[in-house]
């Protein structure tokens, strides 16, 4: 039996007495073996966290975790690394996974101003500008520079609007637009989810477009944002609602915002 198999059985309390004693003597004498045992302990904790151990093994681990603050930190680290919203593919620092958080009220002017700044930077590069002003009606304007191909209109919708509030973004979609990209800059506390769900409905409540899972994107050091692309033909003049939710690793969703906007004739 290899050392790692032997150690795993030892850590789970499954080793016969004489083998356990022999291994303990080695463990206390061999630095490398001791460190390997510590490394393998993390795998045992992983199995514990996943519910993959037998009841007796669970009970043994639970006993020492109850008595060991350090053990609980080790378990929290193993579990936290597996569930961290700071994903391995995109390890940029993001906010930690929130477990239960109330939907916030209207954000500060500062946050909205940051959204405007990030949007401006992006819009200049894309060739179209959607300007946002707060509070009150917001007007999206055509940028004065290059016309993109295909004709994509970028409209930034601040997540400041909660359902029932009067603040509505007005979006003027230029004639000849093929696609509207609704850019939704995430607020500081909303950036920590592994994925998101966005649903766009019209004034009658009919679904126009939806995306799940939707990943937040970030341009340079700018604010992370969600982008929902919608065929321009599906956005006639009228009022629309967005439902934005963060999706936890468990699949549970948390409501983030319900902004509304109005598409107007240019």
């Amino acid at each position: 039996m290899s050392d790692d198999d032997l150690l795993k059985r030892y850590l789970l309390g499954d080793l016969p007495g004489d083998e356990e004693e022999a291994l303990e003597r080695r463990l206390l004498a061999e630095d490398g073996l001791f460190e390997l045992a510590e490394a393998l302990e993390a795998e045992v904790l992983e199995e514990y966290a996943r519910g993959g151990l037998t009841p007796a093994q669970n009970a043994r681990l639970a006993r020492f975790l109850r008595a060991s603050p350090e053990g609980r930190v080790r378990l929290a680290v193993v579990r936290g690394l597996a569930q961290s919203p700071m994903s391995a593919r995109n390890p940029a620092p993001v906010n930690v996974l929130p477990f239960a958080r109330p939907v916030r009220t209207v954000p500060s002017r500062l946050q909205a101003a940051a959204a405007i700044a990030a949007m401006l930077l992006l819009a200049l590069g894309a060739g179209w500008l959607a300007s946002v002003q707060i509070p009150g009606p917001m007007i999206a304007k055509r940028a004065p520079t290059l016309a993109p191909s295909p004709a994509v209109f970028l409209a930034t919708i601040a997540l400041s609007s909660l359902r029932g509030e009067e603040e509505v973004t007005a979006v003027l979609v230029p004639a000849g637009t093929d696609r509207v990209d609704l850019r939704l800059p995430l607020r500081d506390d909303d950036g920590g989810y592994p994925s998101y769900r966005v649903v766009l409905t019209d004034s009658r409540g009919a679904e126009v477009a939806s995306r799940e899972p939707l990943q937040a994107t970030r341009h340079g050091k700018g604010q992370p944002a969600l982008v929902l692309s919608v065929d321009a033909a599906r956005l006639p003049a009228g009022r629309y609602s967005l439902e934005i939710q963060g999706v936890l690793p468990t699949g549970e969703r948390e409501d983030l915002a319900f902004p509304e906007f109005e598409v107007r004739e240019p």
Binding site: D4, E24, F34, E35, A42, L61, V77, S84, M86
Partner: protein, 188 residues
């Protein structure tokens, strides 16, 4: 003066003798003490003892008492600590034999893992991950976030050109850095 079985509290002379046995330099002795203590706690935890820190202190106190009474160690004191720790573990095992029989009979209630301050620790985890270098952070996250754990970790081994146990230890050292960082933040 010989101490009875019930009197194992650490005396000043016992502590001095203990530290002297580890290193003549007090600072180095203190560091060695902490390292041995950490190892002994793990040893007791792995043995399934639910009072690992108490049993570790008991081990130190017994050794300190022996040293204060004139015991001279001619080899690595760690080996002596380990011998005493094994004795302490055996005594503990005998005392809790009945409890162990119940455990083996599987009549324990389902475990409820203590989750005090769990959210707080996750918040600390984020900060401590940010303190790692990008490569270190990437490795720790990939190791734990691969959907197919075994296959994913084998891929990591191939990419890094190392064996599985070397990968385990490399990630373990990163986790230890994170744990130390979290502990420090919890104590602040």
């Amino acid at each position: 003066m010989k101490r009875g079985e019930g009197d194992r509290s650490l005396t000043r002379e016992g502590l001095d003798a203990l530290l002297d046995s580890l290193d003549p330099d007090r600072e180095l002795a203190a560091r060695r003490y902490e390292e041995i203590r950490r190892r002994l706690i793990r040893f007791f935890e792995w043995r399934g003892c639910d009072r690992a820190d108490t049993l570790t202190d008991d081990t130190f106190n017994r050794v300190a008492a022996k040293l204060a009474d004139g015991l001279e160690l001619h080899s690595d004191p760690y080996a002596y600590f380990c011998g005493v720790a094994r004795l302490v573990a055996l005594e503990y095992g005998r005392k809790t034999a009945k409890e162990s029989r119940l455990l083996e009979a599987d009549v324990w209630p389902p475990p409820t893992e203590p989750e005090d301050d769990a959210d707080h620790r996750l918040d600390h985890l984020r900060h401590c991950l940010e303190a790692l270098s990008p490569d270190q952070r990437q490795l720790a996250l990939r190791y734990h976030q691969e959907e197919q754990r075994i296959a994913g970790r084998k891929r990591l081994c191939q990419e890094l050109g190392i064996e599985m146990n070397a990968l385990r230890i490399r990630v373990h050292r990163l986790r230890r850095m994170i744990e130390t960082c979290i502990q420090a933040r919890l104590e602040d």
